[in-house]
């Protein structure tokens, strides 16, 4: 374990020393130290299963450590109960904060302590006035009359933070707060977090998104296999070093080896328009080519992906696959005509959690595995599935394991297996690295690479600009429903900064 930490100003809000936790058969945490000071934003990063969530659960009092001491707010605990943690000022804000969604912001803030009028009835004027004032003191301006479900996700997160602060929280644990957010909202959220930091609030910031760590965190603690491998000032780190610390081996930033030659067009989209979603979309993807489509939330890229797969209406315009008109109106026809789609929400659209890995992989090719009386030929199925499990490096105790018990990275690979097994001509991937750890990400890139060398035309719809640059032959940027710019691989203009600016509608010199 390395430590390379300057003396920090201020008092430690949290001092955890030598925390260990063993689950049957698993060493979740080994001798973990963590120190968070007043007014500090402390990043906590690591792969899935590195021990982040166990550590957080211990700090929240949901899990008792086997060894170690926790010092919170000057008091020392051998173990801590949820109510003690709350009283000591620890608050946890998950990615999707749970509040009373159908009630107004004001009601959520003042729940349980609503100002009452003369008859013992709630004094609504006072409710709205007081809640607005309270939020104002934190520099947060929300419409308190709105129901919480009507807020943007970032606003909900900010409201959850504010609520925690009204409850006298001094250390706020944020769990992947930005994953579902568009860039503009991330900026707003970060602004809010920084303003609270200036007021002395401490944060533990959990993220898979390593770039953000540099943007918002003062210090970073990296966990790997239940141990702290480093605690550093963010300024002493760079992307390559942090990636290496997280992954545990020398991982260079991924660079796709194969590049598409000038070959036959596989996917052609001609003047595709669906009012309110996207307009006049034109692009082609060649055999073995990987293109990226990027843009802010609501730019039309996501709608385009879903529409091409037949999950939504496609509008007017023409689509050709291998020169033939593509007419699919639903996923079934899309798969038949050689187009497969990886949804961003793999739990909702990709997997059936209670069914075994084997069945999940073959859902889309079931028709090919049927024998007499539509009975599935299971031995043949097993052979096919094993081939893909081996090929994609999926770790599972057996083919019969329920998918819901696999890790996030392995689940994502199962979805890939399910698509690859259909042998598609076109593969559309929507945020393929969403919420998975660094190691799994590299595996996913390798899989994309391999599929492209097999001649599959691949379209990646993503906001992970750096990843797109390293993987794609071309990147199209969409803005307000239109393709506004195109970036070639290796061109000097193809930088994250330029692409991000294009996503926000900038770059007036745009001439495609």
């Amino acid at each position: 374990m390395e430590t390379n930490v300057e003396a920090q100003r201020g008092v430690p809000v949290l001092l955890a020393q030598g925390i260990s936790k063993v689950f049957p058969g698993v060493r979740a945490l080994m001798d973990v130290d963590l120190e968070v000071h007043e007014g500090e934003i402390h990043g906590l990063v690591g792969k899935n299963g590195a021990g982040k969530s166990t550590l957080v659960r211990i700090l929240m009092g949901l899990e008792q450590p086997d060894a170690g001491v926790i010092q919170l707010d000057g008091r020392r605990f051998r173990s801590i109960s949820p109510s003690e943690a709350l009283k000591a000022g620890v608050a946890y804000v998950p990615q999707h904060a749970s509040m009373m969604d159908s009630l107004t912001v004001a009601e959520n803030i003042l729940a349980g302590a609503m100002p009452k009028g003369p008859l013992g009835l709630i004094d609504w004027n006072a409710v709205y006035k007081e809640s607005t004032e309270r939020l104002g003191r934190l520099g947060l301006h929300l419409d308190v009359h709105k129901p919480v479900e009507g807020l943007r996700v970032a606003e909900q997160t900010m409201l959850a933070i504010a609520k925690a602060l009204f409850g006298k929280a001094r250390l706020i644990i944020l769990d992947e707060p930005t994953a579902p957010l568009p860039r503009a909202d991330i900026n707003r959220l970060f602004g809010f977090i920084r303003s609270l930091k200036d007021k002395g609030i401490a944060f533990i910031y959990i993220s898979h998104h390593l770039e953000e760590v540099f943007e918002i965190c003062d210090r970073v603690t990296v966990l790997r296999d239940g141990r702290v491998v480093a605690t550093r000032n963010a300024t002493d780190l760079n992307m390559a070093l942090l990636t290496q610390l997280v992954a545990g081996e020398n991982v260079r930033e991924y660079e796709r080896k194969s590049t598409a030659q000038e070959v036959s067009k596989v996917l052609e989209v001609i003047a595709l328009t669906r009012r309110g979603h996207y307009e006049d979309i034109n692009f082609t993807v060649g055999q073995g080519e990987v293109i990226g489509i990027s843009g802010l939330h609501g730019c039309g890229a996501e709608a385009l992906g879903a529409a091409l797969f037949g999950l939504e209406g496609r509008g007017v315009g023409e689509v050709l696959i291998n020169g033939r008109p593509y007419t699919a109106r639903n996923p079934h026809e899309a798969l038949e005509q050689g187009l497969a789609y990886l949804p961003q929400d793999r739990y909702r659209f990709g997997l059936v959690g209670f069914r075994p890995v084997r069945e999940n992989v073959t859902y889309s090719i079931l028709a090919r595995l049927l024998g007499l009386f539509n009975i599935v030929k299971v031995s043949e199925e097993r052979r096919v599935v094993q081939e893909y499990l081996d090929g994609l490096g999926i770790v599972t105790p057996s083919q019969e394991q329920m998918v819901r018990f696999l890790s996030g990275g392995n689940q994502q690979k199962v979805v890939f297996a399910k698509l690859a097994v259909t042998r598609p001509s076109v593969l559309i991937l929507h945020e393929p690295t969403f919420g998975i750890d660094v190691r799994s990400k590299l595996d996913i890139f390798r899989i994309i690479d391999e599929l492209s060398t097999q001649g599959v035309a691949i379209v990646i719809i993503s906001t992970e600009v750096r990843e797109l640059i390293s993987v794609c032959d071309r990147i199209l940027v969409m803005y307000q429903g239109r393709i506004t710019e195109e970036f070639e691989k290796g061109h000097p203009r193809t930088t994250p900064e330029n692409i991000l600016r294009a996503m926000e509608g900038g770059n007036n010199h745009a001439n495609r």
Binding site: H332, V352, F354, L366, A367, L406
Partner: protein, 332 residues
């Protein structure tokens, strides 16, 4: 990469129902005089055969994530309709005067069951109506049609050929036991190995993912209801054969709750996508054993429902633990 030894908690949770059945069975065998006789064993199975058929249909609908509360309506309509189509009496005695041959009547009855099932499926998948309410209303509608047809009369004197399913024997064994037994085995294997079974579980487990995998959830759910409707029609045919006369559209009353209970007791998940026909069978066996045992022990009938309710609650408790329990799987 398992933690080494067998996961006993998982093992027992998955077979908990059979341990309960064994316990209950042994209890009655010791305490209830006359329980452990061949005749009584046949009685238990007889009790479970109509219930079993309808429960298979119920379980198939539950796998798809939907209730079928209409099945007992189908059972009752079919019992009335069969008499109306076959017996010579005129409308003033509740008959239709058709005097149809059983070989014509039976396909018509199955068609009625299939039609009711299709209508359920259509309303739920195409019109987007709630499955619970749709099938509950259908139960009333079907029973209502039955009452309208028979005008409250009882119809007897059914052709022996028709009654064979519910009344006949092959050797010492009643036909209905053999039939239901075969249905359980057949559907268990069919759902476990067929394309339809795959789709059914996928749709029940995650409809959106099933659709994105190229399946057609609407068709799958409708098919589930059609199967359930046909099985209910067969159950009605069986029940009428056993009873011998249609008792003004009241046959089958109370079946709905029993079928849902049997499926859930056996371990079929109400939220869909989880369970097997074997589970449903276990539930039917337990309910039948308990009913029979309490009967043989001459327990005050006022207690019987309370005891059944208690058993259902215990089964649900175990069920809840099963979904909470997570085996330790090494993270990759």
């Amino acid at each position: 990469m398992r933690t080494g030894r067998t996961d006993w908690v998982q093992f027992i949770l998955n077979r908990f129902i059979w341990f309960i059945i064994l316990g209950v069975f042994l209890f009655f065998a010791v305490r209830a005089k006359g329980f452990l006789t061949g005749l009584n064993m046949i009685n238990i199975l007889l009790h479970g055969s109509v219930l079993g058929l309808v429960t298979i249909g119920q379980a198939i609908c539950l796998f798809s994530g939907n209730f079928d509360l209409s099945a007992e309506g189908t059972v009752s309509l079919v019992t009335v309709l069969a008499g109306w189509l076959m017996v010579p009496s005129g409308w003033w005695e509740g008959g239709g005067g058709w005097e149809l041959h059983p070989f014509i009547t039976i396909p018509l009855l199955l068609l009625v069951g299939a039609g009711a099932g299709w209508l359920n499926g259509f309303m739920i998948t195409r019109l987007g109506m709630n499955n619970f309410i749709v099938t509950l209303a259908m139960q009333l509608v079907l029973r209502g049609i039955g009452l309208f047809i028979c005008k409250g009369f009882n119809i007897s004197d059914l052709p022996p050929l028709f009654r064979w399913l519910g009344n006949g024997r092959i050797g010492p064994v009643p036909v209905q036991i053999i039939f239901t037994g075969l249905a359980f085995v057949g559907f268990h294997l069919f759902l476990g190995h067929s394309s339809f079974g795959r789709q059914l579980y996928a749709v029940g487990g995650n409809k959106d993912a099933a659709r994105a995998s190229g399946f057609n959830p609407e068709r799958t759910i409708t098919t589930a209801y059609i199967i359930s409707g046909v099985l209910a029609a067969i159950a009605g045919w069986m029940l009428l054969g056993r009873v011998g006369e249609s008792v003004s559209a009241v046959l089958g009353t109370g079946l709905t709750l029993e079928t849902v209970a049997a499926a859930v007791i056996g371990g079929v998940a109400l939220k869909g996508g989880y369970g097997s026909i074997g589970n449903a069978f276990a539930g039917v066996v337990l309910l039948s054993v308990v009913d029979n045992g309490l009967n043989v022990m001459e327990v005050d009938p006022f207690w019987v429902n309370g005891i059944r309710g208690f058993i259902i609650l215990v089964a649900l408790l175990v069920e809840a633990q099963k979904f909470r329990y997570k085996p330790k799987v090494a993270q990759a």
